[in-house]
Amino acid sequence: MKKKLIRELITALVLAIVVYAIFAIGFTTGIINSYWQGILMLVGINVTLAVSLNLATGYLGQLTLGHAGFMAVGAYVSALLSMYAHLPFVLTLIIGALAAGFIGLLIGVPILRLKGDYLCIITLAFNEIIRVIIVNLSITNGSKGLIGTPSDTTFLAVYLVAVITIFVVYSIVHSRHGRAIISVREDETAAELTGINIAYYKILAFVISALFAGLAGGLYSHYIAILVPKYFDYNKSVEILVMVVLGGMGNLPGSIIAAVALTIIPSLLISFSQYRMLIYAIVLIAAMLLKNSDAGIALRAKLPKLKKREEVEE
């Protein structure tokens, strides 16, 4: 078991390096132009967001709609630290992530007593509270947006963070802690009566999820030219949730693929201008139908090789 796992880890590491090398060659040779490089950065950020939300929603089973709020905390904290305290980029990212995790802890302790729809609504409300606070603060320059954050985010940084997020979430899920988290999703009462401290594991998963959202936020604020609070409204939370749901609850490769697809598709549709969101919606509906229809399931069963490769990717 140990040898097998180490072999898998090494395979994953090699794969991660190879994939990065391909992108790096693409950038230097100009096959991937700067427009697409920008989109790939967003892809990486969205992968981080989707994978981290999957821990709270897919594995822990708590439907939350406030992920963009934690992203906003990370984004603003790290941006302000860069601008005013002139801290190094990596340090601002870490502090931003910790701040988001801390807010996650503050919010999580009271609200994780709620379940289902109620939890969904209250996380949505907290998302809006965070956004409205940012709009009304002077240091964040309100809804006019924050200008002047150094653009430190490189593709390597985004890629590394995404890989680390996937690795951490994967490792947690495949440990005793992960099994405890999943058991809470499966049956809270049974988990409690099997000796699992469900309150602790709910908060743990929620905080880790918020932490990585904050990290993604920090990357975003050092990438985008103008940081506006409107970006972090409930639409963004829904967008991340859609990635998780489409990719499959508790399915890491699924989240990654969905995050990649749902970031690239809107960019491809840019030539449709005002019909863009319409087509995006149709693509989403089609994907959902295909995912759950018999035909779609049969189609996937025919692709065993593809499935194997996805699994190794973690």
Binding site: K2, L5, G178, S183, E186, T189, T194, G195
Partner: protein
């Protein structure tokens, strides 16, 4: 009652839901390694007692003593960690997890390694995981479930799901195991197998077992002592033979004219 301290004891235990006294003045005690049956007509309060003993409900009167210490206000998690495990009337497995992982959840507390260890894959992670794997498999072997180790729990046949639930409960290394209608929905052959299993479990894991069951053959066959409940109060208490011949019990089950 013997002079040594009983494993679990209740004193005047009761719970009231609004105006309804679901359980009232329930006194009993169970010793180490004893096999105790709890029977009674539907709605007598048997499962409510299980819920009280495991901390799902907080009693409105009386006391529950584990090793002589009150556990009235302990959480279900704490009570489980103190050595009381249970199964459920309507099976509550972690359906989307594998059979092996179900048992490993039960082993959560016996092999501890930190969150950081699991992320960094330190030696303690591997040591813990391998020990858990080994222990979970040996538990599954007792129930002849090892060949299903990587099957999702929801795909197991019904009788096997019941057994897996017992295996998961045993994984928490309990001293007292509460079985809520383990034979429900089983055919006579399966029930006979289950009787054997219960005996084996008791010997091998040296646990006390408190059993709710409607199958009289099973209860009378294996329990050393039986407590009969009716309308939340104790109707009779004694050995299987005493219970069989108790006129009150016969009246409760069959009606007064019988």
């Amino acid at each position: 009652m013997s002079s040594r301290k009983p494993l679990l004891q209740t004193k005047g235990l009761g719970i009231q839901f609004g105006g309804l006294k679901a359980v009232d003045e329930f006194n009993f005690s169970i010793d180490n390694n004893q096999l105790f049956g709890l029977i009674g007509p539907n709605g007598a309060g048997k499962t409510t007692i299980f819920n009280l003993l495991t901390g799902v409900y907080t009693p409105t009167s009386g006391q529950i003593l584990l090793d002589g210490k009150t556990i009235n206000h302990s959480s279900p998690t704490q009570i489980t960690q103190m050595g009381v495990a249970r199964t459920f009337q309507n099976i509550r497995l972690f359906k989307d997890m594998t059979v092996l992982d179900n048992v490993k959840v039960g082993l959560h507390h016996s092999h501890q390694y930190s969150l950081l260890a699991s992320i960094l894959h330190t030696p303690s992670y591997f040591k813990g995981e391998m020990a858990m794997d080994e222990e979970a498999r040996s538990l599954l072997r007792v129930f002849d479930l090892e060949k299903f180790a990587n099957v999702k729990a929801c795909n197991l046949p019904y009788g096997k799901q019941r057994q897996l639930e017992i295996a998961r409960a045993l994984a928490t290394s309990p001293r007292l195991l509460l079985l809520d209608e383990p034979a429900a929905g089983m055919n006579p052959t399966e029930t006979a197998e289950l009787m054997e299993t219960i005996k084996v479990v008791r010997e091998k894991f040296s646990v006390a077992i408190l059993l709710i069951e409607h199958d009289m053959k099973l209860v009378m066959g294996i329990c050393e002592k039986i407590c009969v409940l009716n309308f939340g109060t104790v109707l009779a208490f004694g050995t299987p033979d005493e219970i069989k011949n108790n006129p009150d019990v016969i009246a409760a089950y069959l009606g007064n004219d019988a």
